[in-house]
Symmetry: C2
Subunit: 455 residues, 2 copies
């Protein structure tokens, strides 16, 4: 077998193939604490599309499973190594091949950091809208593979909504180009959409033509509104959307999250703030938009509602949201969930999360991309435990089933990966599962692309 | 074989299967004048999803090709009957199963007219954004099958951008549900996107969950600007977009089109109007948006630039655009093309269209969804001819190749159907063609769904 690895070494530039277990350790796992990675046979640090092509040709010849990875920030185990696999890192494909401000497009290689795409766009008065919380450490390739979401989705949609075309290396090493550079086009099937969100199970995305948008003239205006209960805050969200206001961000944090931040940062929220809503408007009249949202919040029983007076103040309010995860991380090990429901069902879904937490005696904190109905219940448990406690899985199971019952989905933006695979059939049903398998078999007949993930 | 048709009759309610050639005549052809339809074996007027399922089970048992059709408004031959086929009309699946104003979704069956979806939404202060010119006679099912565009695409995207989920009957009769009711969701592959735009080659869409949007508070403000040349108008389009203005409609008509309308309706444009740009803004400050576009047009050499003072006047200006097709139809038979280029290449593409017309001595009129770079060159030729003259095909061929050369696509919104099939491989390349065939074979192994279209 080491002969096989030598063959791969010869097919790519020197130093790109790792086999030393110590060096490979950093490439075995992603940000999912609840899965145990396998031991890869080797790691390829691809530097060009042709390296990826050579690797996939090699993998097919030797029937080696391939686990593609970008920044390794998956929360669903999507980039977790399996025993004997090739870990194929696209993190070193870092060229921005082209930026066309007039057509508002950028061609970025898979390893470019999400935030770097946005920064490159900003130099031309443009923005790359998708903004997963991991944007400073996640790659465009990983975002594309998982169809990542983010905070601005409520106005600008998810990653798939910003992709015009892809360069994908198929199993066996052929290089496929999908889509187009135009904003419209209906020549053939939507292969671009098919590869986006396929979590590395159909091929490896090496580059993408992304759509940019005009950057708002100034930093969005920001509102922070406190509510006496999560339910009241969720009702305010529904009222904001029913008033046809169009926030560019609408985030909700529950009391467990607020207390965790409070204990750490001494933010000084009173007992009348059991839930915090943060909203932004980046439209033509941002102050007006935010003032209207403030009025709605006060009408819906907000105990406080402050509009930022400056960019600095706005950023500070938003920072509260960003502190959620590190603050909760201080309490113990966490399992982050990602259900999404029709946004009017948010209050019900929150109640169901609270029920599940109580019933199974587990600590759950919830932050939500409330405008999308996308909740992230975070289960907190003892860091010393060897495994996720069974009551956490029981509560998670209950939450998934509740989301489906309310017309929702298992995963709003993190992907299926390993950790939601066992619930996939429940959401999709047998016909959709059969179509998934038919497509997977058609494009990856040997089943070597990211095996054990999604399907 | 009539035994087989009897079997189909028994599987669906009475009167749903037509075999009389006179009755079938209306279901043989679509709006593409340049293709000759075959003679169907029978026509099914499906009234329920279960009729479609029964028909596809029957078609598979008897290996009968199936040609699905909605309103029959295809301009690419996509709904043209082939000899011995079952024409499967979904036009009678006309229920709006559900409208959820709070979640801004509607579940509409395939046969609902596009305009009726929008009217149903309007009752709740919402709109269905995709607006192909045929919206009063085209069905949602046909729009989905072709991923139809329209005038508002420049701001709101194409049909695919407004679809959350589908009900699809697969070859053999299984009923598949794709997607979700939530605005976000990444459980599994994007089957919704795959079926949208697949032109009936993978299955029959019977119902869709569509996304609605807030309806602008009032009818959009409208600008009409005349230019001394098409090139000057195209440059104004580029300047409007470069100024990061966000029109909700940006349509361009060339001098051939204007003269055809002029001769018919006596619109009174002077010799200094050789191209007309119509723009709308439906944003938060529509009058401001339109005034800014007017300024840009004047700076770019507009010979006239009028802003509407009222909804009636706005509608009248837009009516000019709608008159293009009937006005050109008065001049002879027409072949409507549909190329799309990166929008900054619009002036070049227009020049290439004019060159092709001159070189081959054919009359070409061009109207364009200019903000998307989507041009519709219309070839006009003698209605008495038995067939499209070879010089028209030669000019069309040159135009397709020019579009691809400029980084564009064969079809921005009409689809491949029959008439662009021969150019498909040129745009897609061998790898993408192979992936198309792999998917087609995986989902329709007998090749009975709309054979001879797209692939």
């Amino acid at each position: 077998m080491s002969d096989a690895v030598d063959e791969l070494r010869k097919a790519v530039p020197d130093g790109r193939v790792l086999t030393d277990p110590d060096l490979m350790a950093a490439y075995r796992r992603d940000e999912t604490p609840t899965v145990s990675p396998g031991q890869p046979r080797c790691v390829l640090l691809a530097g060009r599309t042709s390296d990826v092509a050579a690797a996939l040709a090699w993998a097919q010849r030797h029937r080696v499973p391939v686990v593609p990875r970008g920044g390794g920030t998956s929360l669903a185990g999507g980039a977790t190594a399996t025993d004997g696999c090739l870990v194929l890192s696209t993190a070193r494909l870092t060229a921005i091949r082209e930026l066309d401000p007039a057509n508002e497009t950028v061609v970025a290689e898979a390893g470019v950091l999400t935030a770097d795409v946005d920064r490159a766009a900003a130099a031309h008065g443009l923005m790359y809208a998708p903004d997963p919380s991991s944007l400073e450490i996640s790659t465009i390739g990983g975002n594309l593979a998982t169809n990542a979401g983010g905070l601005r989705c409520v106005k600008y949609g998810v990653t798939r909504d910003s992709v015009l075309g892809l360069e994908v290396v198929l199993p066996g090493g052929r290089v496929l180009r999908t889509g187009r550079r135009t904003v419209k086009g209906v020549t053939g099937y939507d292969l671009t959409g098919l590869f986006v969100g396929s979590e590395g199970t159909l091929g490896v995305i090496t580059s993408a033509t992304l759509r940019l948008r005009p950057r708002p003239a100034r930093y969005p205006s920001t509102l922070a509104a406190g509510f006496p209960s999560f339910g009241a805050a969720a009702r305010a969200v529904a009222a904001i959307l029913a008033a046809r206001l169009r926030p560019s961000l609408l985030e909700l944090m529950d009391s467990v999250t607020l207390r965790a931040i409070e204990e750490w940062q001494n933010t000084g929220f009173g007992a009348d703030v059991q839930a915090l809503l943060i909203a932004q408007d980046d439209g033509e009249q941002p102050d007006l938009g935010v003032a209207r949202m403030r009025d709605v919040c006060l009408r819906e029983g907000a105990s406080m509602a402050e509009v930022s007076g400056s960019e600095a103040e706005s950023r500070q309010l938003l920072e509260l949201r960003r502190l959620s995860y590190p603050a909760l991380d201080r309490l113990g090990a966490t399992l982050t969930e990602d259900v999404c429901v029709p946004r009017t069902r948010l209050p019900e879904m929150v109640a169901r999360v609270e029920q599940a937490a109580r019933r199974h005696g587990v600590l759950v904190a919830t932050v939500a991309h409330a405008g999308d109905g996308n909740l992230h219940p975070l289960f907190v448990f003892d860091r010393g435990l060897p495994d996720v406690p069974p009551q956490v899985w029981a509560a998670a199971d209950e939450i998934f089933r509740a989301a489906l019952e309310l017309g929702g989905t298992l995963t709003g933006e993190h992907g299926v990966g390993i950790i939601k695979r066992r619930w996939l059939g429940t959401e999709l049903g047998p016909e959709a599962m059969a179509v998934h398998h038919a497509i997977k078999n058609a494009l990856d007949p040997d089943g070597i692309m990211n095996p054990g993930k999604v399907l």
